[in-house]
Each structure stands twice: as structure tokens, then as C-alpha cells.
């Protein structure tokens, strides 16, 4: 339900068991982009502050680290999901991520772009594939110019 709220989706199939029972799917399911929240369960996820480590966001100053980041950072370029069945409460998912292709492109708005692909397979408690995700990240040479 909190995830559905965070994407401003009031559809009761995501939180109301009684209402969801009357729908075609017969119970609560997860919204289609929910699988990305697997980041919550990755102990090494780099975009979460961690105990005892310096965080690069602002605190007393505009950043909590002293070294200058190597680039203006990564952005999300593409995201693709393939659904084999809806995710339901009680599912226990195991995730395996493999690197995919990498490529470069020159752009007017952000200089050299380095793209890299990651393929993530979500399997349920029976070992069945439920969601396949393909994510493309891009590292830009400079911040994206605003037109």
C-alpha cells in the first residue's frame, strides 16, 4: 500500500483485500513497477546511507564526502519489465542480476554518455520466473543541459 501511495495510485487491488477479492486477480497484487524496490533488500545498495559510512548527500555542507565524484552521476535511461504472473503478498522472491551490454554515445546535452545494462530475474518460492527486468543506466560526462 505504501508503494502504491508513493506512485499516487489509489487502486484498491493494491491494498484492500476485500475489494481485491472481487477483481479478476482475486486478491491483492503488487503494482507493476514494484519489483524495483528490491533495492531495499540489497545490503550493498549504494544509494542508501549506511551505518558508519560517509554519505555523499548534504549535511552541514552540500556533500558529506570530501573527494569530488568522478562524474555528475548516474541516471536511469531505460527500464523494461516482463511479467509472467502478478506478484502477491506472501511471495518470497529471489533475485539474480547479471550485467548486460555496455555502449557509448556522444550527446549535445550531456557530453559523453556511458550506457550499461543490467538484467534482473525474480524467481518465486517454487523457483518459477515471475518477473524479468532489464534496466539501462547512463553515466553522463556533465549534467544534462536544460532546454
Amino acid at each position: 500500500m505504501m508503494f502504491a501511495r508513493s506512485v499516487d495510485d489509489p487502486n484498491p487491488v493494491y491494498y484492500d483485500a476485500e475489494a481485491a477479492k472481487k477483481t479478476e486477480v482475486g486478491g491483492i497484487i503488487a503494482p507493476p513497477t514494484f519489483p524495483q524496490s528490491v533495492a531495499q533488500f540489497d545490503p550493498d545498495y549504494f544509494l542508501r546511507p549506511k551505518h558508519g559510512q560517509k554519505w555523499f548527500g548534504s549535511a552541514k555542507g552540500p556533500t558529506g564526502i570530501t573527494e569530488k565524484p568522478a562524474s555528475s552521476g548516474g541516471l536511469h535511461a531505460e527500464q523494461h519489465f516482463e511479467y509472467h504472473r502478478p506478484l502477491r503478498p506472501g511471495d518470497v522472491l529471489t533475485v539474480e542480476t547479471k550485467p548486460g551490454a555496455t555502449w557509448e554515445k556522444e550527446s549535445k546535452r550531456a557530453g559523453k554518455l556511458l550506457f550499461s545494462e543490467r538484467i534482473t530475474e525474480y524467481r518465486d518460492q517454487n523457483g518459477d520466473l515471475v518477473v524479468t527486468a532489464r534496466s539501462v543506466g547512463v553515466r553522463t560526462e556533465k549534467p544534462v543541459a536544460q532546454s
Binding site: M2, F3, R5, S6, V7, D8, D9, N11, V13, T23, E24, V25, I29, P31, P32, T33, Q36, S37, A39, Q40, D42, Y45, L47, R48, P49, F56, G57, S58, P62, T63, P69, S72, G73, L75, H76, A77, E78, Q79, H80, F81, E82, Y83, R85, P86, R134, K142, P143, V144, Q146
Partner: protein, 140 residues
């Protein structure tokens, strides 16, 4: 709630306003649920002074989630087979977004009736922020 082949034609469209006047608080909510705490999305000081952007901007996945709301409202719950997008422009606090699905093809595969959709989400200036495709199961 599902789409019916008999009522669909190639080129048909469905449009919804998926967010109006996007708030910074919505970005904070999305950071919390997705686990993506990249300061680019919640930390104006960092984003301006270190990253070099005019201010915080939305997670691409938030825009995809908002676009997904239009899509599941259109095709029905649990009907999506594929949903993929490219993030073509950044989304900023204060933006108002409209998402449109357009029927590209109606076909059958392995005994299932499917609709292929092209997807576009645009901001209040008509600039496209997400472009993509989706495939969903439909009824006869």
C-alpha cells in the same frame, strides 16, 4: 475491466492525467518505498551545488510508476505482460503529467489475445518525459 478485442481498434488512445503539480514530498515518499535515496531526488542543496542541476528532480521510476497507473487503469489488473520505457526528459517538482496509451497492434500469440501499446507521458509544456511500449492480455 479488461479490454475486449471486439471493442478495440488500432490507433485508439487512452489518456489520463497521472500527476498534477508534482510535490517534493511525493519524491520523498517514492524514495522511502523504492529504497532509492539518491540525493538528486530529495536533497536540493546537494543537487544544486554538487551535481549541478537546477534542483531535485523525480526518480525515473516514479514517472514510470505514474505511467503504470494509467496503463493498469486501461488494461485491467494483472493483465500486463510487458512494460518498458525510456526516460527522455527529467521531471521536476511542479510538473503536471499526462500519460497516453495508443493501440499499435492486436494479435494472438500461443493462444492468448494480446494488445501492443505505445506509451507516451508528457509534461505541461508538451515535452515527452517517458516513451515506451507495453503488451497486455485482452478478452475476445
Amino acid at each position: 475491466m479488461a479490454l475486449k478485442k471486439s471493442a478495440l481498434t488500432v490507433g485508439a488512445t487512452h489518456t489520463e492525467r497521472v500527476i498534477e503539480n508534482l510535490s517534493r514530498t511525493q519524491l520523498v515518499m517514492y524514495a522511502g518505498t523504492s529504497g532509492d535515496y539518491n540525493p538528486l531526488h530529495t536533497d536540493d542543496l546537494y543537487t544544486k551545488e554538487i551535481a549541478g542541476y537546477p534542483g531535485v528532480f523525480a526518480h525515473g521510476m516514479l514517472t514510470m510508476g505514474l505511467t503504470g497507473k494509467m496503463l493498469t487503469n486501461y488494461v485491467g489488473d494483472g493483465r500486463l505482460k510487458k512494460f518498458g520505457v525510456r526516460f527522455t526528459n527529467q521531471v521536476w517538482p511542479g510538473d503536471t503529467l499526462d500519460s497516453t496509451a495508443t493501440v499499435a497492434a492486436i494479435r494472438e500469440e500461443n493462444g492468448e489475445l494480446l494488445v501492443d501499446l505505445t506509451i507516451s507521458t508528457t509534461n505541461q509544456d508538451g515535452k515527452e518525459v517517458v516513451s515506451g511500449t507495453a503488451t497486455a492480455r485482452i478478452d475476445p
